[in-house]
């Protein structure tokens, strides 16, 4: 097997937008120079449940520079919301949060008013002058204390085909009958995306029925649709621009209330309004990975064959809306086990609605499953890697379908070899170095394949340059770079002459950047668009007399079309256009899935090998070394792919060792609401990471053979770390994060 890395792909492209990003010329949402801009500040509730009795805004309104104080009392209203009821009644479950709608409080940190002023400082000061009177009702925010109230989600009750229905295959008594059993409960706390760039928006009404927003989000098209619906505008009258995003990890998948609030304010004032969320507001405004408790019961034969897996997951959601995620789904597909039963429950609490966060559901579920597998391997005295190999699923055990492609065994082999897994001594606490307890841990990962219909436009202009466009996004992975690479390879035009446009809702339709779907979906669209453009260019060239270009011989390289048999002949692309008197040649193509979705089960697979050192006296855990290996089909651009994997590992280190949003339930309010108390990994926490890809095209998924990488990069990392900590210390930590008090 060839192990591919950067060295074997020296032609990897640097980020096409790297220079603007590091030199500060890239324009982020809050940075657009819009004239006559007003600045706003959100005021949020300090109680978790109840109603607003009064808002005393007089001093604020009279404060210098203040243009308006907006709340439910004077909001111009969002026409897409139903009319507000008098007196206000709690929203039925399933309602998205409606900003400035009525006096009801659903969670601590809920936007209740907004101050708009000429300057940000004036708005901030005025905000400090506002007092709000509340009638407080008893809230429930404590997941553990309310766990018994969890239930099947209403949306699942209504939908027979929901994947979150209770699931079973095989014999329900298999666990009781198993020779060896593991039963355990795993907990992950609420965790927040907290990208470096806070969410921000500039809202501009260009007349009564035309709206432009510069908004941090992960899908300009869905934001466009959402805002059009909310404000009852024609879709094409809403322009959403989000060209540069300073990280999101899922926080920008939907249009949040603060965005609507800024649009409302701009409407009321007939002036552009900017809103930037402060770091503390980022904890209650844009969702989070929900607190989740999972019970896992695994049975196996003494010789290490899985005989039963029961997995029950319960996640938290708000009182007004349901958020479901894949928590228990991986367990059905990951291993060859005949008897598998899963249940998924939700617990409604007086908190804001969670959302998808990198590897949503799977990062959570695989923490539990892969920890439990490690526990079982230990109980069986079998090497954890060997145990996984013994239970490898050669076909999808859930859907009884062949995999479109699966090279997990190669991943295990490549990863173990690079890591030196064979040097692991099986007994916990048996390895030491420099006074530190050394632990080796591993875990598998998987992530479902997502591909959505996508369009791309490709334009070749007489100057010799290419523009490719799609309303896709780049929240950090390097979308433009990958797309440039795809276009360059097909069109035979050097990357420097290609520009890829994204993050603008007026471009051809594309899905938002989520579910690791961008390369599979938009990459395919760019591929087919460039192929179509190439066909057109070749045809135009073949029509030029005297060149003797043969349809079956023609190729494009370095901007020239020639016969393969005669590299010195041919014609430049520019001259082809000149001959036909064309300024440019343009195509727009769509690409989407077909019948293959029903013939194959499609996943990315991978694994992580991790070494930790634990201080025996202080219990501090440091990740020392990581080898991560993934099979995500064809790798488009190694350099940016590798960055994705490194980012996923860093996120997994945070999830495993430090990230936790802690709430004081007496107040229903987070006490960790800044970067001093909500810890994410710093450089010193992220060690050397070796990234390996199998890099074999999956011929069944799409024309480029590529599957998504963003999510699988984090799935399983927390388990690999917890498993390594167990190996180092003999202590099994089942509730994240693994902090010192759990180890001393």
């Amino acid at each position: 097997m060839v192990q591919k890395d950067l060295q074997t792909e020296p032609e990897s492209l640097d980020r096409v937008d790297g220079r603007p990003k590091v030199t500060g010329t890239a324009t982020y949402s809050a940075e657009y120079a819009v004239g006559n801009l007003a600045h706003s500040v959100l005021i949020t509730s300090t109680i978790a449940k109840g109603r607003i009795k009064n808002i005393n805004a007089k001093a604020a309104e009279e404060s210098p520079g203040v243009l308006a104080v907006i709340s439910h009392l004077n909001s111009p209203g969002v026409p897409g919301y139903p009319p507000a009821k008098q007196p206000a009644e709690p929203a039925p479950v399933g309602t998205a949060f409606r900003v400035f709608y009525d006096e009801l409080i659903y969670f601590n940190g809920q936007p209740v008013a907004m101050v708009v002023a000429e300057t940000l400082e004036q708005a901030n000061h005025a905000a400090s002058l506002i007092t709000i009177g509340y009638e407080i009702a008893t809230h429930q925010t404590d997941f553990e204390a309310n766990l018994s109230k969890s239930a099947v989600a209403l949306s699942v009750q209504r939908s027979k085909n929901s994947p979150f229905q209770d699931y079973g295959r095989g014999n329900p008594e298999a666990f009781d009958a198993a020779e060896v059993k593991i039963e355990a409960t795993y907990t992950i706390p609420t965790q927040h995306h907290q990208p470096m760039e806070p969410h921000a928006i500039i809202a501009v009404w260009e007349g009564e029925d035309k709206l432009t927003v510069y908004d941090k989000n992960q899908g300009v098209k869905s934001a466009q649709g959402n805002l059009a619906q909310a404000f009852k505008l024609a879709r094409e009258n809403v322009k959403v621009n989000a060209q540069f995003i300073g990280g999101a990890f899922g926080s920008g998948i939907r249009v949040w209330p603060h965005t609507v609030a800024a649009v409302l304010a701009a409407k009321k004032l007939k002036r552009p309004v900017k809103l930037v969320l402060g770091r503390e507001l980022m904890f209650t405004s844009v969702g989070y990975r929900p607190y989740t408790v999972q019970k896992i019961a695994i049975g196996a034969s003494k010789n290490g064959i899985l005989t039963a897996m029961n997995h029950e997951g319960t996640g938290q959601t708000s009182a007004y809306e349901e958020h479901l995620e894949r928590t228990i789904l991986a367990t059905r597909a990951m291993y060859a086990c005949p008897n598998v039963f899963t249940k998924y429950r939700l617990l409604n609490l007086d908190v804001n609605t969670p959302t998808w966060m990198r590897g949503p559901g799977d990062a959570t579920g695989m923490f539990a499953l892969e920890s439990a597998l490690d526990e079982m391997a230990f109980a069986l005295h079998i090497d954890p890697l060997e145990f996984r190999l013994q239970n490898h699923a050669d076909t999808d055990p859930e859907r009884n379908l062949p995999w479109s492609a699966k090279s997990l065994k190669e991943c295990y082999e490549l990863g173990a070899e690079k890591f030196g897994w064979k040097n692991r001594l099986p007994a916990p606490r048996s390895m030491q170095k420099d006074g530190m307890l050394v632990g080796y841990g591993m875990a598998s990962s998987l992530y479902g394949f997502h591909r959505h219909p996508s369009k791309a436009r490709a334009v070749f202009s007489r100057k010799g340059s290419v523009v490719v466009q799609s309303a896709t996004m780049d929240i950090g992975p390097g979308t433009g770079t990958a797309m440039t690479r795809i276009a360059s390879k097909i069109l035979g035009v050097s990357p420097g002459k290609i520009r890829f446009d994204l993050g603008d809702s007026s471009l051809p339709d594309a899905p938002g950047q989520n579910g690791s779907s961008t390369i599979p979906s938009v990459g395919s669209a760019v591929h087919v668009a460039c192929e179509a453009l190439k066909t057109k260019l070749l045809k135009l060239a073949s029509e030029i007399p005297g060149l003797n270009l043969q349809p079956d011989q023609m190729t494009i390289k370095n901007g020239r079309i020639f016969n393969l048999t005669d590299a010195s002949g041919g014609i430049s692309l520019s001259d082809v256009l000149k001959y036909h008197n064309l300024e440019q040649v343009e195509v727009t193509e769509e690409s989407k899935s077909g019948a293959e979705r029903d013939q194959y089960s499609m996943y990315s697979f991978g694994c992580h090998f991790i070494e930790v050192h634990v201080s025996p006296l202080t219990g501090e855990v440091r990740v020392k070394r990581v080898v991560t290996c993934a099979d995500v089909g064809k790798i488009i651009n190694y350099k940016t792919a590798r960055s994705q994997s490194i980012g996923g590992i860093a996120g997994g280190i945070g999830m495993a060792l430090m990230e936790a949003s802690v709430m004081d339930h007496r107040f229903g309010r987070y006490i960790t609401n800044d970067f001093v108390s909500y810890h994410i990994p710093v450089y010193a926490d992220v060690p050397q990471i070796d990234v390996i890809y199998v890099d074999k095209p999956d011929v069944h998924v799409n024309p480029i053979g590529s599957k998504g990488l963003g999510e699988i990069a984090i799935v399983g990392v927390a388990a690999a770390i917890a498993n390594a900590v167990f190996h180092a210390t003999g202590k099994r930590v089942r509730d994240l994060p693994i902090t010192v008090e759990k180890l001393i």
Partner: protein, 332 residues
Amino acid sequence: MKPFLYYRPKTVKDAIAAVASHPDARFIAGGTNLIDLMKRGIVSPEKLVDINHLPLKKIEQKGGFLRIGALALNSEVANHKTVLQKHPLLAQALHAGASGQLRNMATVGGNILQRTRCNYFYDTAFPCNKRTPGSGCGAWEGINRMHAIFGTNEKSGQDSCIAVHPSDMCVALLALDAVVLVTGQQGERRIPFGDFHRLPGDNPELDSNLLNNELILAVEIPDAPLTRHVHYLKVRDRASYAFALVSVAVALEIDQNNIKTARLTMGGVAHKPWRFPEAEKIMTGQPVSESVFQQAAEAAMQGGRALEHNAYKLKLGANAIVQALKTAVGKA
């Protein structure tokens, strides 16, 4: 943020007068703590007296002590030749604090007077006696994982404060017997480091015994043969850039495997940097050995009292002391 006046004095006298002439004025040095507090509405001074242009930056060896000006930057002190030579413990503690960027702004005076990092103190939606006297202590029956195990008031917890002083530098300065040189309308005075900060008692809003309008001029560290066997150990939730769960400063003078002098202080455990005279005594005159370190650690943690979420600090504290002592003598 509330609008405020800004004044930049040229002399120490001018600075003191400027603060004294306004009922709600504050000195500002690096601003790395004060500005954050103002942004979050925790303090709202009406006047800022910017002392950055006062001649208080010098680090100089005087007769028997090193004088470090109040405006010397944390990074300058941490990398200063004399400090590295004579007081490596201080350099270690400074390097363990904050981040490179912050240390380049933060001053010695500001570091000493930085406020606690209690989460309840930082969010005005919570009650907090330190921020709003009489409002109650949010942390007392709340989430007190980061809070004090020494010097808390068992009976009047709700009315007092269980916060810890967050500085790393101060833990080392206490171990090194430093003295704080201050000046005010009544003139100069020297405050031994152990008396500079205070326990919360009935006035949790007060962190230190510095009087209103008094300005820190410098800290002075007496010469001592505590250079070889020193260690600053900081236990935290990530590898860098986090406040201490607990931290330990140890400095030993060892003569032929016998401990001649022992200094042992801790951060993250009390409203002020905490010193353990008993444990120091236990080690003095004893041979260097793990069992002596264990005894010292046990003695040190004797008087500790746990709250709901910080019981781990009793064990972690003892372990950290042993670890720091072992590292200091090169036996980690």
